[in-house]
Amino acid sequence: MKSLLDTAAPDVPVGLVPTIVILPGGSCSVFCFSNLERPLPETARLSDTKADSWRARSWASPTGYDGLAVVGASAMGNFRAHDPAGETVHRIGTSDAVSAEAADLAAHLLSTGAPASELLHFLGEALSRVGALEGAQRFLADLLLQTSVADGYVEVVVRPESGGLFLQGWTQSRLSGPLNLHGHGAGVGAFAATFERDDVQAPAAGFCIFAGDWRGQLGETGTFFVDHDQRLLRLDLLAASEPISGGAATEHVRAILPRLSAPTRSLDAFKRITRASYLGLNTLEGYTGAVTAAIDRILGTPSGGLFVSGWLLDPLDHVAQVVLMSTRGLHVPLQDRWHRADRPDLNKAFGTDPRFAGLIDPRERLHGFTCTVLAEPEALDGAELYLEVVLKEESCLFLPCAITPCDSDGGVHPVLETLQPDDPALKALIANHAAPFLATVPERALNLSRMTVQTLADGPAGGETAAVMPLANMSHLLPVMASLADTREAAGLDLVLVANREGAATLCEELDHQFRFFGLRGTLVLVPGHETLGRRLDAGARVARAPEILVWQPAVLPKAPGWLAALRNASAILGDDAVVAPLLSYEDGSVYFGGGRSGAAPTGAPCPLVGFERHRLDNTGPRAAQALPAEILLVKSKLLSAAGGLRGGLFGERFVGQDLSQRLKRVGAEAWCIPEAEFWMLDASPPGGNSGARSMIDRLDAALISQRVAAASTALPGKLALETGGIR
């Protein structure tokens, strides 16, 4: 059986002609391709068309590759697709064959041996992303019928008290473990188990399927579909009978449970049906056994990110599961993924509690836990959230929980406080919890009312270019000002300095003197001290309001005048999408930034040649670059805005350049090093001076960038990682 390919886009332009274009309904088109030399790019930016998105999947065939692409408009072809790196351009042609029938798409899938179940899932997601899912429901239902294989029957339908859908019947295939259950449209996560029946002939067997997140109406369908072993199986509902519900439903499931055979997690899902239900009460607090737990805080973001921190005291190991649940289908077993933390205070606090007296081992301190859950917003919207503590003897305890809204990165300090440099599992905590949650936090807008803006000397001249410069150390600014004095750069630049508001009582006056002395013009922007480097730079750029922004940190010093003209000239020649930076070298003559696209740059460095001798680079003409240095770069303000500004939601400084480079690249910008302009790169702190806290923040930023890169490069960003609400 063939599988979907996760192959990087080719780097050579190719003319692509679809074999057929399908119009599934809604404002979108599905382009089918056959006999490709290379896989299609999974995502692309389009030009020459009104369509604004491209999502594609490819699969191998004896003659190369086949594939299909969902385009976010009723486009018929004749446009260009650019891969995310912005380098490869695919010319997409037109097809003589156009159809609105699911049968034609099914024919394409079946004739090419496509993994139908995965492609249906992909189609559902892709159509949803372009807002065409609703209009294409009928088409998708037809496609399910056309691409599935009849495999069995549903004989009993149960609606458990705890919600969801329980199906029972028999199939030719033995269904067991997690699978997707489809009605008419996109599937939901479900679990299956088999049981032996005397009335069907082997290999047929009885089955039970439970989909906790099933929200469809039973009357909508007489047919169910499950994907199994990369095939779509059709299960027809036998003569309609009333679903079993209420207490009878629980009893039905309880009766069949002993006969079921499936992996443990799947069986747990069935057991869950028979357990007590949450009635909005805190049953944990009245429990008299040696188990207790609490939630310290649940931060929740608008997109469904939850950052859960709490603790569980269970000295006798009675607890089987700790599950975060909602009354709208969220079901997340925390103990499978949580990060444990030292909470020695609980030993003391409960040492004299009659429930725990004599049971607590003072050496055991890992009672705390932290866990990030990425939930579907619908699973939280208007729902009650609660913790379900499942005991090994199968009873459950409930603890109602509340979500503290985290609508912007201004509210994330509780997350940062959980990060401790001496935590031996810090790497996992960052990668699995802090970064995934923080990636869902919306960045708060710049609040101009929290800034103080003061003019320096005669104030800005309102020129083409404003240099935005964060100011942390006056002694670093002195040589910058001295090297600017009486130069053409000084005449052509408005300097926008951004400094901490705290401790700046005399700063404005001092800078005013310095600016007058050196013949400079500009502005001082004072911001709260906790603002990140990126937000400081953005604050400066906002105040500057110049068509071009020169990001310039005092860590770099020009070697000779004339650099600004060199950068501007190069920028003008390279075009509006060019972002340029001078060549940067250390005081020992080695390169910090010299451009170059081949080779891997060390973590955080903008250039694969970092540390090599300067003489390896010549001074002739622009050099394409993988990334840009945050220390200095010249960018059009419009381009910067399109990339989302300088801040990027990072917390430290080290990865600002890397993050910005990637965001600029996503909007089509190209990075260049201009060797005719050369600066010294003066490290602020040697490696040994990096504090544990700073190193921790750097790790967090690196993980955040990885999250975003993964989200940007996958065809289905974010969604696949979400807790879909079904039992997992």
Partner: protein
């Protein structure tokens, strides 16, 4: 024509080679036909400044002024108050309207004062007189490795970063960039030694701007040669200077203890110098131990004043300058020569340049007590050596000589400026 001579301190308040040399120059230029001079010196605590201005007068001289400062950025050699430079120093310049400005040191004023001169006076020629290695070396301008006290041969940010790892090469490059941005506005650099000039040329100052002019000395009346009795020997040695680790007093006293008793005889080393109590404790202990070890061979006479020198020189045959750093053009060399005393000096830097081995003095290997002991033995035991070297001494330049040479330099710079201006005016 009027020159403004700027010194970091006034010799009436603070004795030091640079302030003496700059003040002598002020006096010397005044004697040149067609030239007047104004002397502006820095001053600080314990003098109390005025509330509204750092400018002060010196009531005993009409053509001398003072500029009060307190805070100073030693790392950058910079002023911490450019507001005061703009409000007062530049106001003073505009009012005085000198034709040439000659800076000696930037301490107190800050290296930014060079830009202030440009701001206030446009393209007036600026001459900067180099007295040590402060712009080059962050170790008090001595070009000595701070930990090992070894002689430094080359200053680059990377090399200096090893001397100051806590500062780091990057900040040392910042320092160099900052200082050079101002020195770049200077028209000519004067140094009293070729050695110093060569160090600045290696550091990157344009060679065509570097000029060597000796300091001028106003030595008063020369001390007579010490009278010898029957069978007497030229065996009275003198040390004049600060008792700090770089002036070589330890090497000298150590050497004295190594000269065999039968050779040393009734020889004496007279030590004139102060400030031992301000030195690091381990250095003080080591010097005192050596003094004890040397016993009657060494006579510690304490600090001295310039005007005492002729009298003190009467009891000296040889001047010993055992400095373990490069020196530039120590005034004590000129003073010794002015009084006709041959010099025994370390064989490095400004000392090796100014003292000609076998002509007017003797060299020994720097920091090497054995070498110095051998040289002193030679001085004691060679009856005609002193006479020979005494005869080879050339009189040092006077303040008037130096004034004339400077006036000539200033006039060249003014002529060059006129030449620059000419075509500009024609073009306009």
């Amino acid at each position: 024509m009027k020159v403004l001579i700027i010194s970091h301190a006034h010799p009436d308040f603070s004795i030091g080679g640079a302030q003496v040399a700059s003040h002598n120059l002020h006096l010397g230029v005044r004697q040149q036909p067609g030239w007047t001079s104004h002397y502006l010196a820095g001053i600080g605590d314990p003098v109390t400044p005025h509330r509204d201005t750092p400018l002060m007068a010196l009531d005993r001289a009409e053509d001398e002024s003072l500029f009060w400062s307190k805070e100073f950025d030693w790392f950058h050699l910079g002023s911490t108050d450019v507001g005061a430079l703009m409000a007062h120093f530049e106001r003073f310049l505009v009012e005085l309207q000198p034709d040439v400005v000659n800076m000696h040191h930037v301490m107190g004023f800050g290296v930014q004062a060079i830009r202030s001169i440009r701001r206030a006076l446009g393209d007036v020629p600026i001459v900067y007189t180099l007295h040590e290695y402060l712009p080059i070396c962050a170790n008090h301008g001595q070009m000595i490795k701070p930990r090992t006290h070894a002689l430094c041969q080359r200053a680059t940010p990377s090399d200096c970063g090893m001397c100051f790892p806590e500062t780091g090469a990057a900040n040392l490059l910042r320092r160099e960039t900052f200082i050079k941005s101002f020195l770049g506005q200077v028209d000519a650099f004067v140094s009293p030694s070729h050695f110093l000039l060569s160090r600045y040329a290696e550091w990157g100052l344009p060679r065509e701007k570097l000029v060597m002019i000796e300091n001028g000395l106003d030595g008063g009346i020369a001390a007579p040669v010490r009278a010898l009795g029957q069978g007497g020997r030229r065996n009275r040695f003198g040390f004049f200077g600060q008792l700090n680790p770089f002036k070589g007093i330890r090497v000298l006293v150590d050497a004295v203890t190594r000269v065999p008793a039968d050779i040393w005889g009734d020889s004496i080393l007279n030590v004139y110098g102060g400030n031992l109590e301000q030195q690091p404790e381990d250095f003080q202990i080591a010097v005192k131990d050596l003094f004890r070890l040397a016993g009657r061979r060494v006579r510690y006479r304490g600090a001295y004043k310039s005007h005492d020198l002729p009298a003190l020189m009467r009891d000296i045959d040889w001047m010993v300058i055992p400095s373990t750093w490069w020196e530039n053009s120590p005034v004590v060399i000129q003073e010794a020569f002015f009084h006709g005393r041959p010099i025994i000096a370390s064989d490095i830097g400004g000392m090796a340049e100014k003292v000609r081995h076998g002509v007017d003095g003797l060299h020994f290997r720097v920091s090497n007590a054995d070498s110095l002991a051998e040289t002193m033995t030679q001085a004691i035991t060679s009856p005609r050596l002193w006479d020979q070297l005494h005869a080879g001494i050339r009189a040092p330049r006077t303040a008037q000589d130096t004034g004339a040479m400077h006036a000539e330099l200033f006039e060249k710079l003014l002529a060059r400026r006129s030449a620059r201006r000419g075509p500009t005016i024609a073009a306009e």
